[in-house]
Amino acid sequence: MANYFNTLPLREQLEQLGKCRFMDSSEFADGVEALKGKKLVVIGCGAQGLNQGLNLRDSGLDVSYALRPEAIAQKRQSWKNATENGFVVGTYEDLIPTADVVLNLTPDKQHTPVVKAVMPLMKQGACLSYSHGFNIVEEGMQIREDLTVIMVAPKCPGSEVRAEYVRGFGVPTLIAVHEDNDPKGEGLALAKAYAVGTGGHKAGVLMSSFIAEVKSDLMGEQTILCGMLQTGSILCFDKMVEEGIDPGYASKLIQFGWETITEALKYGGVTNMLDRLSNPAKIKAFDLSEELKVIMRPLYNKHQDDIIDGTFSRVMMEDWANDDKNLLGWRAETAETNFEKTPAGDVEISEQEFFDNGILMVAMVKAGVELAFETMTAAGIIAESAYYESLHETPLIANTIARKKLYEMNATISDTAEYGCYLYNHACLPLLGDFMKGIKTDVIGKGLDLEDTGVDNARLIEVNAALRSHPVEAIGGVLRGHMADMKKIV
């Protein structure tokens, strides 16, 4: 199989990368009608598989689960998940031939064997659905011509997909139709109905393409989302301990700090995150982030380049073929970092203190978000996609770190994201070595502690203007505006 993206002419590559549109709620007026009475068979019953299936069934759709014979025979967790929730469970041979829609919700690395196994069993004219386009775009899987291929990708962990649905909402969802496989022209209608069935239409749906989804998703997850937070955690922790700050305090400041500062990011973008700082601290964070951007820009470029030309996926698939040797080794290393091994101390840290004492963390988030966004858009990815895959998702990952630190974060994200995160981390740690030598506790751990919080007017105006005029802020303002109309009024 050849990398699908690389087989396309540049004109089409650019067209596909540039696809992303925030859909209007009126486009979902037909509800789940396009899927009503059809047989939906889910493959895989992990967090996404189970929770999406529960939502779809509660929306009145016919859902069952196809599992591998050994998962059924050995009563594995996936079998338990499905049967305890009262779903019909069967083998591929039992269920796939009856399916109108097959929902492939297995992990990325199983896609090739899974799709190869189910495709011959699928009935003429059925639909195959993905929640990530890696298999199509990077592995170049060819799907039978009579089959419709769509993607519906809720932009949150499976547990949240369910929890938000039960609350009467949903999570932001990306949908796409693989244009090479839309023989009956029904792909969009099916994808929309699926998004309604999981509740996604209540939180906002983005119409994208397989290619835009894959290339932006990979870039976001390995740089700002997971990589930057991992590298930042390790560097900030070690620096604080080196400077004599209580390790328990340092651990807590980082573990919960990312979540707190990116909550401000979620509500009001990079601007609001920096507005939470005092004026001198804001200018300090701005200067640090400018410095970081210069140092890290080549690394972001390299990640994006490797993703666009397929180097990243090729190297990772080599590791898959090598029994995940690198991945498992790096995972074990993460568990051994000092930050990971030091439990959060029993100290009270107020919401504002996370900002005041975490100026460097704010600078790192700003630098990472802006670099990822700039790099993605420079590579032809449209601003909407770039926004979702950088700024929008950062709080979600920060939230998993708050729950159980880096090891848990890496366990929650996909293997693909995890692999990319480690690649980033290994390159970024040495890259920031000199920079970190100049860092003191005034920007991480203790705060500026100024007698006089006065600043130069002209400089403050300059900084504020720079923050507010960044392109990620422009698109962010528009998209958050859409979301506020649709999502909960808080």
Partner: protein, 483 residues
């Protein structure tokens, strides 16, 4: 009164038709109390007890005042009866005029200057020579008050002293009471919270109690130090719920529920089974809930109460493998859970735990129209108005814009009940609605539920750990056993 009064585990009979039971109460020398509570809860009885009235059956009472003065309708009636009896007993063949007012006024008087002053102030100077029994009710009440105030009592007990007084007299009396707070301890029985004078230091709240021998009885449910602002506000709210006539706010006509077939039951569960792995929690249960049949479901922990409920609400995944008929839908035939949930109002402790969004109290109520936690559409003006009516009903109108998560636990529970009721659901499910609440908040929640049972079209399904914890108006019981 120099020492404190102690009432300990006291049970007292009053004329064999009312009983106060299990009274624990201490009144310190420097305190001024108000006794309040719903009708028939024994407020007057408790006040009278302090004046030595009643037949003590159990418990002890120490430190009772030696010279109490009691003004109450009962005492007033007794005095009038005494006067009428005098008339009857008169064997002389002359027309009796009865005892003149001034004689009654000065019967126990220890301060005639004060008496004359008050006679002026109450406007009784022209009536002094008239027969007491010829006075109007309001006038005899004033006479009673003057008698009591001038007797230099060691405890002044006034049962509804402000009832029927005109505004000027009311102000005069309140001012007078305020002027004697340092010399005479007072216990007032009041039916209205807003009449409570500033000098009151403590509040005793009475409740009707339920006993088996069909004698009306009451108990002292709560005592509150007025300094405790939160407890005082909660009591005011409880009082409001207990004493205000409840009118369920109207429905949002733009969001009306589909009609249900009146000939079909609301819920019909047939041979339902709930199991986790090999453990069977509920085994072949049959249960039909008809419209208007209020039910109480009880059972120990682990007997499957919440499981059965969530089969009805559609929250249990095993609802797709059981024979469940709800609101016209046989489950598992392409209906969505939102089509089911629209007919159900639901309140539970776990809902409260899940309801962590920082939305306003008003929006919490409106979210009941969407069966959502939090709001994702903008409320209409009509919806806001309905929510405000609910807030007023709960005595929380001033808190409409406050964030829900800043409310007390009990107030949150009340709001969630209003949220469940806002759409006038055919079925209201209350899953252990009092769990985790203190006594005051438990009273508040139960008061609201009783109002709903009696004052709406909604069928109530009340789930409680204890089968004996009953609500007036519920007559059907299902007890689950632990299997």
């Amino acid at each position: 009164m120099n020492s404190s009064i102690h009432l300990n585990q006291l049970t007292v009979d009053f004329n064999e038709d009312f009983e106060l039971n299990d009274i624990h109460w201490t009144i310190q020398a420097n305190q001024h109390w108000v006794i309040t509570g719903s009708n028939g809860s024994g407020k007057s009885a408790l006040a009278a007890l302090l004046a030595g009235i009643g037949d003590v059956k159990h418990g002890t009472i120490t430190g009772l005042p030696k010279r109490p003065a009691l003004v109450s309708f009962e005492a007033q009636a007794e005095l009038i009866a005494r006067e009428l009896k005098k008339d009857d007993a008169d064997i002389l063949d002359v027309i009796s005029e009865g005892t003149p007012v001034h004689e009654i006024l000065f019967e126990n008087c220890r301060d005639s200057d004060l008496a004359n002053d008050l006679i002026q102030k109450f406007g009784l100077q022209t009536l002094q020579d008239r027969a007491f029994r010829k006075l109007s009710t309001g006038e005899t009440r004033k006479v009673m008050l003057i008698r009591a105030l001038c007797s230099q009592p060691d405890l002044l007990i006034l049962d509804e002293p402000f009832d029927g007084l005109d505004a000027d007299t009311l102000t005069m009396l309140q001012n007078h009471l305020a002027s004697i707070v340092d010399s005479i301890p007072m216990v007032l029985v009041l039916n209205r919270f807003d009449e409570m004078p500033d000098f009151i230091t403590h509040v005793a709240y009475m409740e009707k109690s339920h006993n088996d021998d069909h004698i009306d009885s009451g108990r002292l449910a709560l005592t509150i130090d007025k300094q405790d602002k939160i407890a005082f506000e909660e009591l005011a709210q409880l009082f409001h719920l207990k004493t205000t006539k409840l009118t369920i706010p109207g429905i949002d006509t733009a969001n009306q529920l589909p009609e249900l077939d009146p000939n079909q039951p609301l819920v019909k569960l047939t041979d339902i089974t709930i199991k986790y792995g090999d453990t069977v929690i509920v085994d072949k249960l049959n249960w039909t809930i008809e419209k208007g049949q209020h039910w109480q479901l009880s059972g120990p922990n682990g007997s499957g109460k919440t499981g059965v409920l969530s089969l009805i609400t559609g929250d249990h995944p095993q609802c797709y493998v059981n024979d469940i008929f709800v609101f016209g839908f046989q489950r598992g035939n392409g209906e969505s859970i939102w089509q089911i949930k629209q007919f159900i109002g639901y309140v539970s402790t776990s809902l409260q735990w899940e309801y962590r969004v920082s939305t306003s109290c008003r929006n919490v109520i409106i979210s009941g129209l969407h069966d959502s936690i939090g709001m994702y559409t903008k409320p209409s003006d009509k919806q806001k108005a309905i929510a405000d009516q609910w807030l007023a009903l709960l005595g929380m109108r001033d808190r409409a814009d406050q964030p829900f998560n800043k409310l007390s636990y009990g107030d949150q529970r009340l709001l969630l009940i209003a949220r469940a009721m806002v759409k006038h659901p055919p079925l209201l499910i209350l899953d252990e609605p009092c769990l985790g609440l203190d006594d005051m908040n438990r009273q508040l929640v139960l008061a609201l539920i009783e109002k709903i049972c009696s004052g709406s079209e909604t069928t109530v399904l009340y789930v409680n750990h204890h089968a004996e914890d009953k609500i007036n108006g519920i007559e059907n019981y299902l007890a689950l056993k632990k299997s």
